[in-house]
Symmetry: C2
């Protein structure tokens, strides 16, 4: 049982102080080693973390070749949480996905206390033994928390088709549990422990207020890793978000669904979807205040905006770390008569190998973008009207947009300016559907945004030479 005061949990600035079971630990980690210079700007130097949560990342050596990096992450709340998760839609669902789903169903999204994550082995396509292993991981965490009912969400990432070194993991859980802490350093170490081929740990946090108690400070923290199936034997998309705001399970589920659709499910590195993808959100209510329940309340609306933007920022770090990526591209499909169709179009552009290679080559090739708009499958009739479709590049420096196609007619493009815009790491592509068949009356109706990276030689090298 964790017995740490709230004062301690909010002390994010306390350096390297570990608090659990009333004891204090010190530790250090090689977090900054081997992180590329260009990625260091994405690693926060401090944070504002939710009350009542303690975390730890420790070394187990799940993968034999890992001799020093943390690969077991543990997140615990001192009180029971509302919890919700979005899981992969892949039909080959890894054991931890099946187990976590069962746990959330059995507990009706309440009474969840912990998240345990290992890197190095995905525990996918591992049969009944794999399911038992996933249960064992969760049960050991529950035992450390003095609980008898399943109260832990389990995640794994790594090689497919191999069993976990379950004894090593279970043996390491009590030690890891004893290192639980609420410091910035502990959060960073936890973020590091779920990485596989990521080049940097992905952690963000923020504080916020809700309309019903404007003087109360809430916090939200999240860690994430990997993107889709960048390295299918190694990676998966995992996300764990924690808040000290009080949220009912049903509201939590709909808040998370909304946020994930617009963040983790709106990014693309290579379009593949792993067997293990999981994003979980825990809310322990430790900061107090009125519980968020009804979707029609002002608190709910505010929480939705905050959570969605937060999840977007977190998921964008995954794109920033896309294998071999040299560009970070936002594609905005606007003035669509239908949100879902706009989303399909954005996703199709984001996944087009030809768009991705053109961007790598700094080529203002609007024909490839237009083609992707035109062949997107599942778009509702009347959404894409060639004569109402416009495409432009929006520079990140705030200079005017570069129009490439207006109402289906190609513009005479200033190639020098196009080239200059494409030199920047960041780019926004705007596809304006002009209201579709509704025309003017459909303007400003629906908008979908996707974030993606380019395909580079490095991507092919990494993915082609993976096992050789």
């Amino acid at each position: 049982m964790i017995v740490v005061s709230r004062a301690q949990f909010t002390a994010a600035a306390v350096p390297l102080t570990k608090m659990a079971r009333g004891r204090v630990y010190f530790f250090s980690t090689a977090l900054d080693t081997e992180i590329p210079e260009s990625k260091r700007k994405y690693i926060p130097r401090s944070g504002t973390y939710p009350k009542g949560f303690a975390v730890a990342g420790s070394y187990v050596g799940v993968k034999a070749s890992n001799t020093r990096f943390p690969d077991l992450a543990l997140i615990c709340s001192e009180t029971p949480c509302s919890a919700a998760a979005v899981f992969t839609t892949n039909k080959f669902q890894a054991a931890p996905v099946q187990v976590s789903k069962a746990t959330l169903e059995k507990r009706h999204g309440q009474g969840i206390r912990s998240i345990v994550i290992n890197a190095g082995c995905a525990n996918a396509v591992t049969g009944k033994g794999g399911i038992e292993d996933a249960w064992s991981m969760g049960a050991e965490v529950d035992k450390c928390n003095g609980l008898h009912e399943p109260s832990t969400i389990v995640m794994s990432t790594g090689v497919i088709g191999q069993r976990l070194p379950i004894k090593k993991i279970v043996d390491a859980i009590p030690v890891t549990h004893s290192q639980l802490s609420s410091t910035h350093s502990a959060w960073l170490s936890t973020a590091r422990a779920i990485c596989t081929t990521d080049t940097f740990p992905k952690l963000i946090s923020q504080s916020f207020t809700l309309p019903s108690s404007p003087d109360r400070t809430y916090s939200l923290a999240g860690i994430t890793k990997g993107a889709g199936m960048i390295h299918p034997n190694m990676a998966t998309l995992l996300g764990a978000l924690c808040t000290d705001a009080p949220i009912e399970p049903s509201a939590l589920k709909s808040l998370l669904n909304h946020a994930v659709a617009r963040s983790f499910n709106s990014i693309s590195v290579d379009g593949d979807t792993s067997t293990n993808d999981t994003v979980v959100l825990m809310a322990n209510g430790a900061a107090g205040g009125k519980s968020i329940g009804s979707a029609s309340s002002a608190d709910y609306a505010t929480m939705q905006d905050i959570l969605t933007m937060f999840a977007q920022s977190l998921s964008q770090l995954v794109v920033r770390d896309g294998e071999g990526a040299t560009k970070f591209v936002t594609v905005r499909v606007q003035n669509s008569p239908c949100y879902e169709s706009a989303r399909i179009i954005a996703a199709t552009i984001a996944r087009s190998p030809l768009v991705k290679t053109a961007l790598y080559g700094r080529d203002a090739n609007w024909g490839r973008i237009l083609c992707a708009v035109g062949y997107a499958q599942g778009v509702k009739s009347g959404v894409v009207m060639p004569e109402r479709t416009s495409v432009s590049f929006k520079p990140v420096d705030g200079s005017p947009v570069l129009k490439l196609l207006i109402n289906g007619e190609p513009e005479k493009v200033d190639e020098a300016r196009a080239s200059a815009i494409l030199q920047d790491e960041d780019l926004e592509i705007v596809v304006d559907l002009g209201g579709g068949e509704q025309g003017e009356s459909g303007l400003a109706r629906e908008e979908a945004v996707y974030w993606f990276c380019d395909f580079s030689h490095e991507y092919i090298t990494i993915n082609g030479d993976y096992r050789t």
Copy 2:
């Protein structure tokens, strides 16, 4: 009006003899220059061509940078043909697609005499002027044939968003028409004239018989080019097939749809679909015999098999010429309770960047294949049952299959053998769905096959550096 005897048209072995309007021409072309050594085996040295068709490929210089290669192709039948076509489903349909559709509709698939194709400019996203240009091309061909009704299918391939140099093209049509010929050399020159970034011309022909007149010889010839959107400003998938068998328009349409679904629409280089994709089939009945009408006739069934296999062989040449491709991969999804779902799964594997890069890296990475099976969108419920799914590699040398996954359980893979199999240019991946939820009773039910190539460094170079 073409006045050439049938005897002349069948004289495929006559070297370089051009026949049109009663005159005889000689020509030569630089067909064999710049064709990679490894691709020369795909270029036929002779052929058996359908009676009553004459063809020509000539140089126009549609693209200013093209100073010598043929870029205008003309195919004419001396008598009216039944004709059918399958067009791109891209919503941005190029002008020639719109015009050819209108012509086929207006003529109810009958009375078609010619196909005219230019390379170097796609006449796509070119507004009303582009539509007029496409009509002009067809009208000029009809004029040469002494016809007043639209009787020509028009196709274009090349840069998007630019108008055709229509005067140059229209001026070149009578000259090209005067060079029409039925020789092997003329067919090869015609195949060459539709190429853009293809490294070799794609032409095949074959003779066949039909059950209703076993002593009569029919012929089928076809040319094709490009794949999907390999080079979106330059390429598109075009195919033109001609037969001297007599086929009713309605039967022709269903025969072509069946064949294209299992050939041109079952190949993938990069998964993108162009604005111009068109495959057309003309049947002039010049070889005589009973006309194929009812889908329940023995002739229809035979024709369906012949046309489908022919279209498969022709379309596979496109995959052989995939940009940067080092491998030719067949993916067979078998024992599916549903054909369409099997097809979606095969297409998803064929398009997965991770599968494609793994194959480039000669990596027996069944996890990537399995993941693609699992995330395929639109697959019917009950088709993919993890515990009934098996994956294996089938070597092209006839040696035993290498089992990677059996009924959802990973095999201990002989990596040395896997590596040896993957060294071959050709590979077949077999995904066995085990009958899906129907189990044993669903075995041997439905099967879908896709052909695709790998993603290589060369692909990125070609597509990333296209305009630089």
